[in-house]
Symmetry: C2
Subunit: 194 residues, 2 copies
């Protein structure tokens, strides 16, 4: 068996990569070699045992939990808020938020922080964005901390409308400005999306 070994090891690597939950025994059946051979292969390839692999995946998830939660809830951490008036949040730009090519933060993360803050300053989960205008003034890069300040600049409670202006900055320099026209849903008017 002159080639098979290298081939098998490559295949083994791939197989484990896309299903880390496979045991040596299952692999030995898959590749029709003994369990020991699989073990030797893993050694040579420095692939850890099943339990360690699972643990790594789990630890990764567990650590991500903190940073993936805010992706769907409020983006950025709200550090100060006065309902219907103003609010401030901070958002630390991490490698996963930027373009790989130039390390500049993707626009939707800045928007998400600002929009989340605009929603939050209104009133807990009952506000929708109707319109908005955005300006991305300077590129933001990984490692920077973006401070967003939201202010309710106009309120028309009778029409359930309000305008919120959000200014985001890094080191006192403004990087983003957004104005949001918000619609405040009343409890009754909730159920009318097609």
């Amino acid at each position: 068996m002159k080639r098979p070994k290298k081939q098998r090891q490559q295949a083994l690597k791939d197989s484990i990569k896309d299903n880390p939950f496979v045991t040596d025994e299952e692999l030995s059946v898959e590749f029709d070699v003994s369990v020991q051979t699989i073990r030797l292969d893993r050694m040579e390839l420095a692939i850890p045992e099943l339990r360690e692999r699972i643990k790594h995946v789990a630890v990764k998830t567990f650590e991500d939990e903190v940073k993936s939660l805010p992706i769907d809830e409020v983006i950025g951490e709200i550090i100060d808020i006065e309902l219907d008036n103003k609010a401030i949040s901070i958002f630390d730009v991490k490698p996963e938020h930027v373009f790989q090519r130039n390390k500049i933060a993707r626009g939707h993360h800045l928007f998400a922080q600002a929009n989340s803050l605009a929603v939050a300053v209104m009133n807990e989960e009952l506000a929708l964005t109707v319109k908005s205008e955005l300006q991305f003034l300077r590129p933001v890069t990984a490692g920077q901390r973006v401070v967003a300040k939201a202010e309710v600049i106009e309120s028309h409670p009778e029409k359930n409308r309000a305008f919120v202006k959000v200014v985001s900055s890094v080191d006192q320099q403004t990087v983003f400005i957004g104005t949001f026209e918000m619609y405040r849903m009343t409890e009754q008017s909730e159920g009318e999306a097609k």
Copy 2:
């Protein structure tokens, strides 16, 4: 020890919840009882053993991997693209994209799909959003499929600027309109963020 048992079990539950990676042995030290007591407690509380806990976390992560990847890369799946001209992407709204209260999709997901598409239609990772105007016309709810169509409506290659209009719809009904002023970076001009 009349109360301690219930209290310990509650504390045990909490302890395992915020650190699923703890062994019975470590817990027995933490609560100053024997390992067996910890095991009995776990039985009563139907808490699985360490490895099973880790596995659950890992499986969860693994399944999430598919849906968390598009969050940071292109949001939505691009199904057609003509560079510098137009592009189409679809985005299936899932429960994790909506407000819990009213099941309406959070604005930043619609923005992210549109913005990603605007970036994509320009030229591979070298475009930045400068300004944009958005209109959220109708609420989108979980389960719906949003089709976004981007079109380059104006191009000023000499100024490295272009305008892209994105119209998103659900079942032929327009739900979102965004116009994006894009800046196309040249390879040389990349390195100038503070």
